[in-house]
Amino acid sequence: MPIDKNIKILIVDDFSTMRRIIKNLLRDLGFTNTHEADDGNTALPMLKKGGFDFLVTDWNMPGMTGLELLQHVRADPELSHLPILMVTAEAKREQIITAAQAGVNGYIVKPFTAITLKEKIEKIFERIEAGSKSQ
């Protein structure tokens, strides 16, 4: 089944240029329903209001980091199933393992390409699709 292009996506990054780049790349892939937040503290209330289907977040941000946001989302029964893609310059093996253990669905290191973003998003939704079928 093709991915629903109308899904509501939240992009969280402290640099507006990076949010803009991700937003443009997502639009190229057909996703136009995108929203933005500049750190975890801004993002979490938006997510709690509901309606978001996908979260793309940076790691290193002032206020609440992407990892903390990930942990908050996974701990919230209302949000715990939200697919999360981390797009970050954090490239330590230890950090990637930590993010994986915290329940991230995909991990992209900056600098990245449009193709990588496309592949990871497709892979995440394929897995969700497969998971919901097997239940």
Partner: protein, 251 residues
């Protein structure tokens, strides 16, 4: 004072100290201990004074660099503000470039849509499947399309130039960052010197390692990895490495 000088002073004092201790001359012992402490403190304070002076001079030189001021046409009083300025400039450049790209995308879309329609009609004309009436319509469309091409291509060209020009920040930010690196390096060298004379030689490396391990337990964000610092093994090398690592974890 050279290290050899202070060494000689320490040696003299130590010899006298041993003699006094053997004699049981407590007052003289106290005095000699004070003397030794004084030798040590003098060196420490001289170094501290030099460091302060160098830092002051560096900061002064930093502020008075008129060339950067000319280039940026702004008064930037210290290193922190300069770095903030780098952030602002790079952000502006990125936004200028992105605006140029966003503005070009619909223009290119118009051209490719128009070409696709015309190509189909033209194929019908070549296959002689078109009436004279239809052909007149096609010829009008071709004329309109050529007008669009000229207009939109001009727009894209202007945007490309704008995107090109937006990269001019690199020259300026490069210079600013290099200056800050030099300042930081100078301060670091002087601080290392200060630590060395204040007797922090023993156990520093072990302590640092332990502190690193403690910090590691929290797994904080560290920003982009800068290759070639000798810690490359801790970092993944590109997206393929990330994918391998995640699949080894059962992802």
């Amino acid at each position: 004072m050279s290290p050899a000088d202070s060494n000689q002073q320490y040696l003299d004092a130590a010899q006298r100290l041993v003699e006094c201790l053997q004699r049981g001359d407590t007052a003289e012992v106290e005095r000699i201990v004070d003397e030794i402490t004084h030798v040590r403190e003098t060196a420490l304070f001289r170094e501290l004074g030099m460091l302060t002076r160098e830092l002051h001079e560096s900061l002064k030189a930093f502020k008075l660099d008129t060339r950067i001021n000319e280039l940026t046409e702004q008064e930037i009083p210290d290193a922190r503000e300069r770095l903030n300025y780098v952030i602002t400039m790079t952000e502006q450049a990125a936004n200028r470039t992105l605006t140029a790209i966003e503005d070009s995308m619909p223009a290119v879309g118009i051209l490719s849509d128009g070409a696709r329609t015309l190509k189909a009609d033209w194929a019908r004309f070549r296959a002689r499947q078109m009436s004279a009436e239809e052909f007149r319509g096609l010829s009008k469309q071709v004329e309109e399309f050529l007008g669009h091409v000229e207009e939109q291509a001009g727009k894209v060209q202007g945007n490309l130039t704008e995107a090109l020009m937006a990269q001019d920040f690199q020259d300026l930010t490069g210079q600013i960052i290099r200056r800050v690196i030099n300042l930081v390096q100078e301060v670091e060298e002087n601080l290392v010197q200060l630590v060395r004379i204040s007797g922090g030689r023993i156990g520093t490396d072990e302590k640092r390692e332990a502190a690193d391990k403690r910090d590691g337990a929290k797994v904080k964000g560290e920003g982009p990895h800068i290759p070639g610092r000798g810690d490359d093994a801790q970092f993944v090398n590109g997206q393929d490495d990330v994918d391998d690592l995640l699949s080894s974890l059962g992802f």
